[in-house]
Amino acid sequence: MQIYVCVKHVPDSAANIHILGNTQIDEKVAFLLNPYDEHAVTEAAVLKKTVPDSDIIAVCMGKKDAEKTIRSAMAMGADRGLVVETDAVCDSMTTARALHAAIVQDGSPDIIFTGKESIDSEGMQTLFRIGALFDFPVVTNAVSLEIKSGKAVVTCELAGGRTRTFQLALPCVLGAGRGLNTPNYPTFPDVVKARKKPIQTISLDSLGIPPGPGSAKIVALEPLIQKRRPKKILGTPAEQAKEIIRILQQDAKVIS
């Protein structure tokens, strides 16, 4: 099987984000493998155990530095890496076209894994666009996967413990959710091994992607500053409970 895993190089969610100019962030912060993509890579490695001849290819679009995230993915089980290098900030339509073109150039996928979303742009759509470009079925927030007689049986989670189980023809695109597995983080020997695995870099320009029929462009970024003025609710537990209920009824108007 050829298993592709699309990964993204994102700022650490714990980083202090500073905005430069109006539309960019200061990128001098820790970048790492998008947390949902960790589940995607782990699941690919789990699948490879049952289909031993498989080749896992981690694909990432980004700046040169994105190679680090490919190394992380390789330390977690990917066999080789593919970087689509660009300094440009691309929207989801362009990103999906680039990843599609890079994968087509590289091989023929049986499964494409992604995370269900990235924690930086939080767009939630690139996986669906990749699926549409390939004409592969897509599901998102997958929490279990089984390959049965050439089909993928995937359970996806909705909110509140609700699930849907789908059958997808292969090849398909699967968006990994948190419940899919426990990420199989690398040991030091895994990291040593990953250093020797090959990474191929292709420039975005060399893929010759025609512009899409639309675009999404960031026109302004601003830090979210929350101004709250905490008020104390004092008294006995009974009085405190009474006051909470009053606030819910009269101020927030959320209970009757």
Binding site: M124, R164, G214, P230, K231, I233, A241, I245, I247, L248
Partner: protein, 315 residues
Amino acid sequence: MKQAGIYIEMENNRVKDTSLGMITLAARADVFLYALVLDGVDDSTRQNLAEYGINTIVDMPLADDPQIRRNPAVRAGAIADAARELKLDTIFGLSTAEGKDIIPRVAAMMDVPLVMDCLDVNLEKNIARTSQYSGKVMADIQLTGSVIIFGIRPNAVQPVPAPAQAQTITLTLDTTVPANLSLLSWDDGEDGGRISLAEADIIIAGGRGLKNKENFSLIFECAGKMNAAVGASRVAVDEGWVPYACQVGQTGEKVSPQVYIACGISGSIQHFAGMKTAKMIIAVNKDENAAIMAHCDYHVQGDLFEILPELIKQL
């Protein structure tokens, strides 16, 4: 004049309030509003949609067979077909759990731009406001294209009645289930209708202060009494007290309910990333120095094992 289609989510044959909020948001601009309804239009639905300003209700009944009706690819295909048929230039849907599985499909099928999880939309400029970087940054994103799509965060806008004369048209759809994606089964949760985090008006969440799984039942009981969804901090999930789906935070759900009640949650930066856009935060915590006590609207200082039972009793 813009032609906007609003994909209406229903629950128990009623239009969800969060869908009505989308109508209010869209109606701020000079726009002709279509309601795209896939789950059947009865009189009360018709009245409800008209009351909030829909001009044309598009009744696109899907087959009753849940394997067809619930298939997100079928639903997305129906919306895309309607958009082409009605020559819509703008589509709205909700960033609910279902919406996240449907709206991006529509965008991908039509190959048009989309912003999910919008807190606000400026239809004059086609600019949507959404959060990025784990909720630390607000981004204004401008869309260009013959059709543009916005996924609206539930509760981002409160519905305001704006009565219109609504006509109803029926569109007959080709609802074949795609051969490569079929729905085998579904599980709506053991109690059938637990409120989803993303849509709840009230979320009551528990953290380390609950101490163990058994104590978490206080949170569930309280949630049941006030019709709230149950949330949790990462600690509570990591300890196995509640399932992942309850987790609020940067690696969990991001929510903006009317009221967020944090019980025994210290308020780490990671937790705040998921709930800081709540309209009101009430923190119940013994520790008056917990970070959350400085970033809430009300802090109830005390023992949650005394306060929660009182709340349950009084509700």
